[in-house]
Subunit: 142 residues, 4 copies
Amino acid sequence: MADALANKIARHMHAAEKTSAAWGVELVGAGEGWARASMKIRDDMLNGHGVAHGGMIFALADTAFAWACNARNVVTFAQAATISFLSKAEPGETLVAEAREAGVAGRSGVYDVRVTANDGRVVAVFQGLSRTGGGEVINEEG
Amino acid sequence: MADALANKIARHMHAAEKTSAAWGVELVGAGEGWARASMKIRDDMLNGHGVAHGGMIFALADTAFAWACNARNVVTFAQAATISFLSKAEPGETLVAEAREAGVAGRSGVYDVRVTANDGRVVAVFQGLSRTGGGEVINEEG
Amino acid sequence: MADALANKIARHMHAAEKTSAAWGVELVGAGEGWARASMKIRDDMLNGHGVAHGGMIFALADTAFAWACNARNVVTFAQAATISFLSKAEPGETLVAEAREAGVAGRSGVYDVRVTANDGRVVAVFQGLSRTGGGEVINEEG
Amino acid sequence: MADALANKIARHMHAAEKTSAAWGVELVGAGEGWARASMKIRDDMLNGHGVAHGGMIFALADTAFAWACNARNVVTFAQAATISFLSKAEPGETLVAEAREAGVAGRSGVYDVRVTANDGRVVAVFQGLSRTGGGEVINEEG
């Protein structure tokens, strides 16, 4: 049940985000406390060194984080996030970001996100701090 | 002299980044240890709540950080970054990110970046950790 | 006035913190939106490499951050913080942490802290995210 | 074998750290890519609100991180770390910090650390970025 709701919420958010369409982000899967997003590195995502701009890697991780922290159907916002870049991503590579809840207390939550490439190497590790606002993300009756 | 070189490097990097063209990032100014970038929030930069996606705000800050940390003409990479989101940015707003060197030691550097809106409010505060690689960003003779 | 209040608050917090006594933290100064704390690196603050443990450098920075973010006399808590370590600190060195407000919006604030040694080198750069709770830190009438 | 070496290294580091003796940090366990440390919150670890100072919670997490990132017997340093504080810790509580490797590439590594209390609540979540130096932590022959 919780997994089904989380999945429905992620699909709703994915459809509503204009960024996901602009960046070609796909929803790979979602459940209670986790979400997985993928994105192919395009030419318009490259920095001056010809590899993926850190901003796009962050954007993918942040998208998975947003889906995961809204999965309980309470509107939740990112307050802060940290990213460490471990390896470069080349044009044409598809990256997958997997967000998992690391801890929740009151209105705050912390989520760990790993961004990996097809060959299994870790491209970046991200940690996000969320805070619940009010209201539902979707109407559960719908 | 140092300011002129930093400015030349920022112009070179700005022109080479495919992301800057894709996102409409403009180079506002750059000097020794600092750089300023601006970006207008477009509809394709909005999240599901209809405000600027955190990934795009990070991307702008990260761009200014990259220009600032390469300003001494040694190729330098982002290793890690942290961002705190303080206020929302609406479609149509133009954000300015200003990066300033906070400390450098050996091959490492730390840069503080503030992202502000036209009305002066702070949208986000960012801190980046850089590490120098090797080689020059541009040929100073050129 | 704002500076006098901030200073009074920092003195109050410094006296109330058992850690400041335990670590030998001194209040160097404080004003509206800033605070400065110092600490001498003792033998019981060393890690296995014989230099200051990162935990103690963080603790000093965090102390200055706490004073700065409470300076408006609203009880305020640290939500998150990031630190980058730039150089080692040797036993016997006195470190100074200076916290400055980087941005405030609603109940959230971001503070930049620099930790420096006597020779001017930067030991660490810290960024803290705060959130106001309720109530006053001190009775202004007192 | 890798677990036995990691455990031997953690015991060596624990014994060499003057901070572990000063703070009463205990080594709960360690293996390849992970380490667990515990610490009881004492009166001299309290901030002005009468709860554990964030600096001490960070210090415990940072200690577990140091053990975990040195577990392959290559001297490794903390470059940066982020912590999010989720709940308060009271005097007399014993906290456990568990560090786990999240990703490694070249000389860089990222470690996730969770700090929990006896009742299972998450007190803080930490993420550290490490960089290998040179040399061995211990003589494997010894």
